[in-house]
Symmetry: C2
Subunit: 438 residues, 2 copies
């Protein structure tokens, strides 16, 4: 790692480099993904099971596609009771945090004869995609399922590709069961997304699909958007640490590496006004990298997407954070709460020396599904909001409408929409024929 002096052009270069990781750059796979979707939409179970046999090497049918009660019990026997205990603590915290996000329906009756409101209802059925193999993270199951549960979604189904023996990773099954998933299907890839979006004889159509996946899954979600809702398309993980000389460089380095280890495309960025801190963080990064199991991934990530940025002052450092809009931001400054007030764009913000980013991944309670690739400028963490929708409610009495109908008609006529004007006029202005017929 080398130190980069921060200026406008270095920020622009970093943004360009980070954006290369966007799923939008994978047009070349879109055609094959669309074909899978069309086939499953058309052919239902038969196409779905064909693709599963071809891509995952597993023969399934309408009954074996569903994870059985026996398999779930077997998973509970396999999982370390200490891990189960942590999963339950984590669920309690995630639930407590998300409960605070619940929104209420509201009405007002501020004007005579007029009631206006906004009604909140939960989605009816949600599909959670969970990757298989080494990317099977039980924590991710919790983070995707619990907000849906808290929102009140009555039916949460999950799909995840099984291993070569047709089994799902035991901690994933246990996490799903503990979090409150209704049914689990042994399906993965674009074909699973298509089945959730359009339904098959066996797989029920859902209203929204959430959860991470490989590039095929990401493109499939993008392709079915509009037929169903989706969460935002997750890019590789990012962490940025905004620190001054008050920080402990050893802690900061360890936290940066914890995100670098996710993926060769993950990005870990330090920004500071203190050159000594910058050097120390690099030294500790080198030190820890050697000791960590995923050192190859970490080295590649740091080489391509890791930065140590030296700002002229903290104002410039903060401007850099806001320009990059990182998924995770650690603030380790003399007064992190003061710094917080100057941050515009970041998915999750960790304050002070002991708010190590991984407590957010696993245990604190806020969601770890966060906007990546600069989208924290406009997107938010996955939340209860993702699993509800709102309907406006409008009720006018005859007298209330009488008071405004001419305004409505005037506005409508100015837009050339005489049918709109007619619809309010008919309630108060009768013509002869109207009188006869009503």
């Amino acid at each position: 790692m080398k130190i980069t002096k921060l200026n406008d052009s270095s920020i622009a270069n970093i943004l360009d480099q980070l954006l290369k990781r966007s799923p939008s750059s994978y047009h070349q796979f879109e055609k094959s993904v669309q074909e899978i979707i069309d086939q499953v939409r058309e052919g239902g179970d038969s196409a779905l099971f064909d693709y599963t046999a071809r891509f995952d090497g597993i023969l399934l049918d309408a009954s074996s596609v569903l994870v059985s009660q026996e398999e779930i019990e077997e998973a509970y026997r396999k999982v370390d009771p200490a891990l189960l205990d942590v999963i339950r603590k984590s669920i309690a915290n995630i639930r407590a945090f998300h409960e605070k996000q619940r929104q209420k329906s509201w009405f007002d009756a501020d004007h005579p004869g007029v009631i206006l409101g906004q009604r909140v209802t939960a989605l009816e059925r949600v599909g959670v995609y969970v990757p298989g193999g080494r990317a099977a993270y039980p924590s991710s199951v919790l983070m995707n399922v619990i907000p849906a549960r808290v929102a009140g979604v009555p039916d949460i189904v999950m799909t995840t590709p099984p291993d070569m023996e047709g089994k799902v990773y035991a901690p994933t099954l246990v996490a799903a069961k503990e979090a409150g998933v209704s049914r689990i299907y042994k399906l993965g890839g674009a074909q699973a997304v298509a089945a959730l979006a359009f339904g098959t004889e066996t797989i029920p159509k859902v209203d929204k699909i959430v959860g991470p996946g490989n590039i095929y899954v990401a493109l499939a979600k993008k392709a079915v958007f509009g037929y169903v809702s989706i969460d935002s398309i997750a890019g590789p993980s990012e962490v940025m640490a905004l620190v001054d000389q008050s920080c402990n460089p050893r802690y900061v380095a360890a936290d940066l590496l914890s995100q670098a280890e996710h993926d060769p495309m993950a990005s870990a960025i330090l920004v500071t006004d203190d050159e000594r801190v910058a050097k120390e963080v690099i030294r500790w990064e080198d030190y820890f990298t050697e000791k960590l199991a995923r050192r190859e991934i970490i080295r590649k990530s740091l080489e391509d997407y890791g930065y140590v940025l030296l700002a002229e002052n903290m104002d410039q450092a903060i401007a850099c954070v806001n320009a990059i809009a990182p998924e995770h931001l650690e603030i380790v400054t003399r007064d992190p709460w003061e710094s917080l007030t100057r941050i515009q764009n970041a998915g999750a913000i960790f304050l002070g020396s002991y708010s190590s980013e991984p407590i957010g991944d696993y245990l604190a309670g806020p969601n770890h599904v966060l906007p990546t690739n600069g989208t924290a400028r406009f997107f938010s963490a996955l939340s209860v909001d993702d699993f509800i929708k709102k309907s406006s409610v409008i009720s006018y009495s005859k007298e209330a409408l009488r008071g405004v109908y001419q305004d409505v008609a005037r506005f409508a006529e100015a837009e050339g929409l005489t049918g709109h004007a007619n619809s309010v006029r008919v309630r108060f202005e009768e013509d002869e024929e109207n009188v006869e017929l009503t």
Copy 2:
């Protein structure tokens, strides 16, 4: 219009027919839209003004692209003062309703040493697309701009294609000014969307693009989604009326036509358990259609996408509403509030005989930008929520982290992420070299 008996297969047929109107069915234009986007992204102003000359027949440059103060003043002189008065009443109502949607940042400090929170911040810059020509609806300007203002977005820019003389429709300018738009650019089409998404020398990059447009605009918004946020892709308007024998068929017919007049692809659907009502509504539809200026559009809309559905009972009628998930729903039953409790899916719900749908389009206050094409199952009206984002905030003290760090490490290790485990361990478990270096 003929009466259709309601059953599962008639519902399925209607859904299929309505979905044909989805912008997702216009793959053939995607390539040319993508080319426009790529050119503007690459070439900036030069490409943008080239396309504007080619498609709109207007020669613009970096200064004339901006609507001037003189043009705004001229627009005020042109607009009927009575219309301006209605626009101002409408703004007051829209603002009052949307003020109630504002969400607060919150924090909790329920556990020693732990602060968790959710911080709400407004987007920094939003672009509002407003169609030109006959589809220039000032009411739509209000509905797109005011929620952004209420959310606290400091910079709201608007683009709209000018007419052949390079002028923007006066009521559109006045509505924009009254609603609080910062700057208005004379740009339309996919090139305007591209300019907003990526920025040019003249047009600033925005965080989110909202507003309706033709199929090129819709596809361009879809293509830039991820680089910026967008509102949902609007399809043609829909209204559904759920009525029983207590309704006034004349009113209901007038309301159905008010949406049918929008577009040949608009859809107006009656569902009732009363055959006499069904017949009367058809009779009144025929009667009003003859009298309305947009009768050709109405006839085509009713022919292709209009339905009069006769249910066996109100339960079946309500199930039909929930399956179709209409953009607008009028409930004119004996007890509309009771019926409301049984509605799962609808964008905006109008209760009783005097809540004529057009009051929602113009004056009541709730947003008229609503989910179409069955997406009310999972999408909501445009709202203040669209112009904010939320950042999670996590602060752990040393003692608080000490209490959970082993749980975090255990969960991380179960997922094979030793870098995550390391990052919490380093705070409490020192090795010799650590002691030396920190």
